[in-house]
């Protein structure tokens, strides 16, 4: 997928092939035995348009148990196929996607079948997934900008939090949400700069600086919130937010429109950043240099690439991206800053980055998985599903452990990630 992959194809270990197949079959059996057998009598209903929206699409009715049986059978079939045939790389990825989709659909069918509350609001679920993913995507992009250049950025959480705080304060004082966004981004960049100075100039362990910066960011924002922001909330925490922008034509499309093209500016900024960073990293000279610095700084230095400059710039740029993610948490969504508003999103973004193997698109996929599970929990609590939401909230974390433990192959960080560069 990238130029970094080793040219020699390592023979696939037999155990991983059967491990993946076994997991697929297990998920298929859960579809059938849990969601199928224990489904309530009746249809699962999926509403494909928001209440009151035009054009109005019909609500789809599917027999809940039957749907789970079919989806389970598909999963088991894919599992057997995975074990029997050495699939190409895209085939493996597709198989994971199909099995996960089957699992989620049968979970949803089980949740909604025979429910008196109403149909499952599919659009609401997917819309929420996207917006919940914004800070995670931006945080993960921030992380991989730094790590591709060889600097580990654990301080994503601190950058989100500072960005959120400054964005809310600036927007509130000046009355301009755009100024808030810029302020939040700069604040995140400042945290990035501190990280870069300690990691690159003073050669402090990068994970340690990151963790400590997170503690400082939390303490500082809590302190200023209690001391200044909360007592003078009218001035410093007025709760300004961006308005929703509906893209003409595209925004009117059924299903796709409300999900992808009817949100505030942060979603569109996120699209742009994903695209720009993916292309810049893998299709431009700039990206080649960044990756060279992250993989083999000595070689990069030898051919005249400025290693430390690249690292400073990327870590600060990353901080600014995370700062935008932080700004989303305040001026892009609720408006107000509250204590610890980032609530661990930075750490989840870190996991998404690793889960996505240090590639922008991979990180986006992983972030969407987390965003989906957050939103799913909200939807299921609306449907009053008799499963503790805490169990559902655990799911993406367990999935991450399974992923990093080798189901999707061994993840390999940039070779010089976390290693300070000292010119010989």
């Amino acid at each position: 997928m990238t130029t970094l992959t080793a040219p020699v194809r390592v023979p696939v270990s037999i155990s991983r092939r059967y491990l993946a197949a076994g997991t697929f079959i297990l998920l298929g059996l859960i579809d059938i035995l849990v969601f199928g057998f224990f489904a309530h009598r009746g249809d699962a209903r999926f509403a494909l348009s928001l209440p009151g929206a035009t054009p109005r699409l019909p609500v789809i009715h599917v027999p809940g148990a039957l749907m789970s049986y079919v989806l389970g059978a598909i999963s088991i079939g894919v599992g057997i196929l995975r074990a029997a045939v050495d699939l190409p790389r895209w085939g493996k990825r597709l198989s994971i996607a199909v099995v996960l989709l089957c699992f989620l659909l049968s979970l949803l069918a089980w949740a909604d079948a025979g429910n008196s509350v109403g149909p499952l609001q599919v659009i609401d679920l997917l819309q929420g997934t996207l917006t919940a993913s914004i800070p995670l995507v931006l945080g993960a992009l921030a992380g991989l900008l730094g790590e591709r250049a060889g600097v580990i950025n654990i301080a994503i959480e601190g950058q989100l939090l500072t960005g959120a705080f400054v964005a809310a304060a600036v927007a509130s004082v000046t009355g301009g949400v755009w100024l808030g966004l810029i302020g939040g981004s700069l604040a995140g960049g400042l945290v990035g700069a501190v990280l870069a100075i300690f990691a690159i100039m003073f050669l402090v362990d990068q994970i340690i600086v990151g963790v400590v910066l997170n503690v400082i960011a939390l303490g500082l924002t809590n302190y200023l919130y209690d001391r200044v922001m909360a007592p003078y909330a009218n001035t410093f925490n007025a709760g300004n937010t961006f308005a929703t922008i509906k893209i003409p034509v595209l925004g009117n499309l059924p299903i796709i429109g409300p999900i992808f093209f009817d949100a505030n500016i942060f979603l569109y900024i996120t699209y742009a950043l994903i695209l720009v960073i993916q292309i810049a990293l893998f299709r431009t000279r700039w990206g080649l240099r960044v990756r060279a610095v992250g993989e083999h700084p000595v070689a990069a230095d030898t051919v005249g690439i400025r290693v430390l400059w690249n690292r400073y710039r990327n870590v600060i740029l990353g901080g600014m991206v995370a700062g935008i993610g932080g700004a989303y948490l305040t001026v892009g969504s609720v408006g107000f800053f509250t204590s610890d508003i980032s609530s661990g999103f930075g750490y989840i973004a870190l996991a998404a980055m690793i889960f996505g193997r240090w590639t922008p698109l991979g990180a986006v996929a992983a972030a969407l998985l987390f965003g989906f599970s957050f939103q799913l929990q909200t939807e299921l609590s609306i449907l009053r599903v008799p499963v503790s939401s805490f169990i559902l909230l655990m799911a993406p974390y367990i999935a991450t452990i399974i992923a990093v433990a080798g189901l999707v192959g061994r993840v390999r960080p940039p070779a010089a990630d976390g290693k300070p560069y000292v010119k010989a």
Binding site: I208, V212, L213, G219, D226, L350, A351, Y397, D417
Partner: protein, 442 residues
């Protein structure tokens, strides 16, 4: 196991030399400057060259100055005084001084001692009251020392344990359950709970070690993920009537544990120095022995220094990873007992507080050395205890204390910065070297 025994003879003499090398306080793996007697010239040299203790003191000082700036810059009285600096500079300066000194003297009186209690003792007051702030410090320090030890053990084996919070919950759940669901005689009950908490935390740590050893997954990700799993598991347990929620409760809260399982207190007015503090000190002693005197500890440190060298010396690196995380988890579990069994408040979904993350800063400040962790834990305990008093007395939010703590760690981790700030001479060695940078694949 066979290669283990083969390694032992060659490991033993090495353990002895390594232990003496690390016992000299500087903790530099390359061997710090030789430790002289405390003569006048030695002290002057230590100061000018910026040795560990000096660096820590200077870092503390810088952090306090930055903290003072924060306190002043957010004090409306001071800001108003500075607005008229042109007319009345004296007022501005005195307002600044009043603001900072009020906050910091409250911080000191809340953590070390209050002069008022001494004069009160002379006039017939309670002598025990003099030690009340110190007991608060020890009380606050107890869980921090234990999570700090947890992080330190993993550090010494070359791993980063961000998961002390999750392991803490593992210990807390087991200790709480044993505390209310089992009937045992007085001392035995508490002991069973303590052992249970160790096991509960150790199991969570063990999972990390095993997954890392078997699959090579990075422990930072595993521990972060397990933290979230454990937060949610705790919420799940405490909101399910048929699991651990207190009967007839709608809040997420566990039943209170039996009085026979509570840790007794030693003297003084409440909150006294509990048995928890003694457990923390004992755990530090045991960890110190383990790391510097035992074969296992030698293997930990060898793997921490260089996994590949350890492997070629016949040490099972995977076994070390698993055992180090098992012990780290157990220590985090012990931290939970000092809260669960040391306080009357029942377990809730927020009981874990920030002990796990504070353990990281404590371990870093203590340079991952057990007695260093105890000292760092006491310093942070003092700041936490004082911060509460400061907030009550002056209205300065105690969060500023967390900033000061983190700044100390950051500055101590960067001796060149301190040397730059105070124009200290560079030494030949690296000075107080922090834990080596390894990256994800380390």
């Amino acid at each position: 196991m066979t290669d283990q025994h083969e390694a032992e003879p060659s490991a033993e003499p090495g353990a002895a030399t390594a232990a003496t090398a690390t016992a000299d306080g500087t903790g530099a793996p390359a061997g710090g400057p030789p430790r002289g007697r405390l003569t006048g010239s030695a002290i002057i040299r230590a100061v000018t060259e910026g040795q560990t203790a000096v660096i820590v003191i200077l870092a503390f000082f810088v952090a306090l100055v930055i903290g003072a700036v924060l306190i002043v810059a957010s004090d409306p009285v001071v800001l108003r005084a500075w607005a008229s600096f042109g007319y009345a500079p004296g007022t501005a300066l005195s307002a600044t001084w009043t603001s900072v000194s009020a906050a910091y003297s409250a911080l000191f009186e809340g953590s070390i001692f209050s002069p008022a209690t001494i004069s009160a003792a002379f006039h017939g007051g309670s002598i025990a009251a003099i030690f009340y702030p110190l007991s608060l410090t020890a009380f606050e320090a107890t869980p921090l020392i234990l999570t700090g030890l947890s992080v330190a053990v993993a550090f010494r084996a070359g791993m980063f344990n961000i998961g002390a919070a999750g392991q803490w919950i593992g210990g807390a759940v087991v200790a709480t359950w044993l505390g209310y669901a089992v009937n045992l005689p007085v001392v035995l009950h508490a002991v069973v709970c303590i052992i249970g908490a160790f096991v509960g935390g150790a199991v969570i740590g063990w999972i990390v070690g095993v997954v890392k050893a078997r699959t090579g997954a990075h422990e930072v990700i595993l521990t972060i993920m397990l933290n979230y799993i454990m937060y949610n598991l705790l919420s799940f347990l405490l909101t399910s009537q048929n699991l651990m929620q207190a009967p007839k409760q709608t809040n997420a809260v566990a039943p209170g544990i039996a009085s026979s399982a509570m840790l007794p207190h030693v003297g003084g007015p409440p909150p006294q120095v509990g048995v928890g503090f003694l457990i923390a000190v004992a755990a530090a002693a045991a960890t110190a022995w383990l790391l510097s005197r035992s074969t296992l500890g030698f293997q930990f440190r060898t793997v921490g220094a260089s996994p590949s060298a350890a492997r070629s010396a016949g040490i099972s690196v995977e076994r070390v990873w698993i055992l180090a995380f098992l012990i780290a988890g157990g220590l985090a579990g012990l931290s939970a007992t000092t809260i669960v069994q040391g306080q009357t408040a029942p377990l809730t979904t927020t009981s874990y507080g920030t002990y796990g993350f504070d353990g990281i800063t404590v371990a870093l400040l203590g340079r991952a050395r057990p007695w260093g962790v105890v000292l760092a834990g006491l310093l942070f305990g003092a700041l936490d205890a004082g911060g509460t008093v400061m907030e009550a007395a002056t209205g300065v939010p105690s969060d500023v204390v967390n900033v000061i703590e983190a700044l100390i760690v950051l500055l101590v981790a960067a001796p060149p910065l301190i040397r730059l700030l105070f124009r200290l001479r560079r030494t030949g060695g690296t000075g107080p070297q922090a834990i080596a940078s390894k990256g994800w694949s380390g």
